[in-house]
Amino acid sequence: MAILDRVRDPGERTLAVVLLAPAFALLALIVVYPIGRIIYQSFFDARLSGGHGHRFVGLDNYRIAFHDTEFWTATWHTVAITLITVPAALVVGLGLALLANLPFRRRWPVRLALLLPWAMPLAFAGLIFAWFFHTEYGIVNDVVRRLGAGGEPTMWLLRPGWAFAAVCVTIVWKTSSFMALILLAGLTMIPRSLYEAAEVDGASHFQQFREITLPMLMPSIVVALIFRTITALQTFDIPYTMTRGGPADATETLAMLIHKTTIDYLDVGYGSTLAVAMFVLSLAVTTVYLRRLARTP
């Protein structure tokens, strides 16, 4: 309410409260209430599959989660996907942005190509790449064979390690263009005169990149990283459509486990507990970012 303190006139203050109230009410309705509801449900045995009733169990669900290896595996996969795909998408996205920023005669085909993967629904990307990696009909194995690799074709999505790698490749492909778009916007903001001055001083291309491009681009990079990290923690669509989390649980993320527990198993209580765990994870990561962000001028 610090903003309100700045308003001196009491009449103005009332007006401000009245004007802000709808926004707060809306936020409370669509953000605070659902989160509160999930936290509340997480203390109940709320299996809807029938005959179980709705009963308060205190911290039991949290205890179950603590000993649930599937939960820890899914959490680890979520963290691993974040740690792998966010930096990878940043590097690829930066490359794409630099490429798109080159003085092409026609810029729109380049920018359109950049936009396309971003505009495609995640589930489409997952299904398309599932075909790419299919053992018999996939283009990946076709290319491998044409390159002359003999022997049995690799079953990409049936080997735990390969399946995880395939999911990561797909996520990087899908998300780099988003990174590239934000970074491209940042690149166009850098004044050309800086490069011209550097050119006069005899700086190499690499020096220009390190001394001008990167520092000037930093705010865009941080924004892109925050967005990407938060969505990476919520990864669901691509592994769900590509592998269904398989083989076994080798590519299952936290969001998928929550979906499975709540929608397939109809265990709303435990599903809520898992959702709270994911909320805490996202909150922790966001806090770290925000603190860093507050320190940058």
Binding site: L48, S49, L158, R159, G245, G246, A248, Y265
Partner: protein, 423 residues
């Protein structure tokens, strides 16, 4: 602007007109029926509803469809029924679902409208006494049946003078002989579903059951014989190693089996009943007239068993027209309706007698062979937590077939994950 105003006025008039007519329409009862996805043939169900409407003036039947697969339908219906939605009176549900839906209090027990469970279920195939009766109450009525069938290439077996195999080992040997003789590297001996889909639950159960073992007892408690389960999964893996089943079987879904058999790349194929029409009637099928159906092989010393499927009619516990809905369900579950669906849509009958009905045999000759398979059929584990039971079995089976789990690890995982649910 003028046009909008006109349109608005027209709409308002229409609304008024509807409101005025509504009380008259209400004099008749409208029953809303969820009738599954395209595979459950809502077009044919509509014809049955038309028959019923003609015979019962004052009853109007609306149809709702949705969800291409059983899993998608379960997700949709679980949401609707959890919300205690009274908009839908009758549901068509997969045979694996009455236990869950009835246990959750979503279905109206039909005893009061139709009769006591034992007497009601007597004329039907034996599997329904277990599938549609929950806690001694009639939870649903049989709509049409389905089962996993063993289809095979009659022409190839004849060419190599091979009799219908009775055991999995005989089947593997027959496949090897034909594969060697045909010299076609793409010819698969046996096609089963190994992707983590509902069909993989049957892939797990078929060799297990065929050793004379049960997955659960009548009360729903798990009675998994781990040694037999491992033996069953080992049998599939051995056939993969022999080149009878293809290496990437863990990627194979129901339509893959259908398409590859149609393309002439498969000698033996396990699939649901609908596949017959795809093999025999589809224009792009290369195997028309060359397809046979036989009972599934067993493990040596065991007994043939198959997975029963099919669809049930149930009345919503939240319906406002339960008595009328129950009457319609009773009609849908009569021998006449079953016969209609068999002749018009090759949907498998729920009565043993209908399989040998002369009209049915004339329209769908292969039902003669199908009858024995369906009668020997078994139910997948009936559980109010079937969603979880199915997910655990199919995911684990697929992982074993992908060799990212050993059969021993897989079976131990099924045992430990389901012990809590099936007790």
């Amino acid at each position: 602007m003028q046009r909008f105003r006109l349109a608005f006025a027209a709409l308002a008039c229409a609304a008024l007109a509807i409101a005025a007519v509504a009380p008259v329409a209400n004099a008749a009862t409208t029953l809303r029926v969820f009738s599954g996805g395209a595979n459950q043939r809502p077009d044919l169900m509509r014809k049955l509803f038309d028959q019923y409407e003609a015979a019962h003036p004052g009853i109007k039947i609306d149809i709702e469809t949705g969800g291409a697969t059983s899993e998608l339908q379960r997700q949709y219906l679980s949401t609707v029924l959890n919300a205690k939605d009274s908009a839908i009176d009758i549901y068509m549900i997969d045979i694996v679902n009455p236990a869950q839906y009835f246990g959750a209090g979503w279905l109206e027990p039909l005893d009061a409208y139709i009769g006591k469970a034992d007497a009601v279920m007597k004329p039907y195939l034996p599997v329904y006494l277990q599938a549609d009766v929950v806690d001694g109450k009639v939870a649903a009525m049989p709509g049409f049946a389905d089962a996993m069938f063993m289809y095979y290439r009659k022409d190839l077996l004849e060419r190599y003078h091979i009799a219908e195999p009775k055991t999995w080992d005989e089947l593997a040997a027959a496949s090897k002989t034909i594969q060697a003789g045909e010299k076609n590297p793409n010819l698969q001996g046996l096609s089963i579903q190994g992707a983590p889909i509902e069909g993989a639950v049957c892939t797990f159960l078929l060799p297990y059951w065929s050793q004379g073992r049960e997955f659960n007892d009548a009360s729903g408690k798990m009675t998994l014989d781990k040694t037999a389960a491992v033996k069953g999964l080992d049998k599939w893996l051995a056939m993969v190693d022999q080149g009878v089943i293809k290496r990437n079987v863990a990627e194979v879904k129901t339509p893959d089996t259908v398409n590859e058999f149609k393309a002439g790349q498969v000698i033996f194929a396990i699939n649901w009943g609908f596949a017959w029409d795809r093999f025999q009637a589809d224009k792009d099928s290369t195997v028309q007239g060359k397809v046979g159906v036989m009972p599934l092989p067993a493990m040596a010393g065991g007994k043939s068993a198959t997975c029963v499927g099919g669809w049930q009619w149930a009345v919503s516990a939240f319906s406002k027209n339960k008595a009328e809905a129950a009457k319609l369900v009773q009609f849908l579950a009569t021998p006449a309706s079953s016969k209609f669906l068999a002749i018009e849509g090759s949907l498998l009958p729920t009565y043993q007698g209908v399989y040998v009905d002369p009209d049915v045999v004339k329209a769908v000759p292969w039902f003669k062979d199908a009858a024995n398979v369906v009668i020997a059929g078994k139910n997948r584990p009936m559980s109010r937590d079937y969603g979880q039971v199915s997910d655990v079995i199919r995911t684990t089976t697929s992982a074993v077939l992908a060799r990212s789990r050993t059969p021993e690890e897989g079976v131990a995982e099924i045992q430990s994950k389901l012990a809590r649910v099936m007790r």
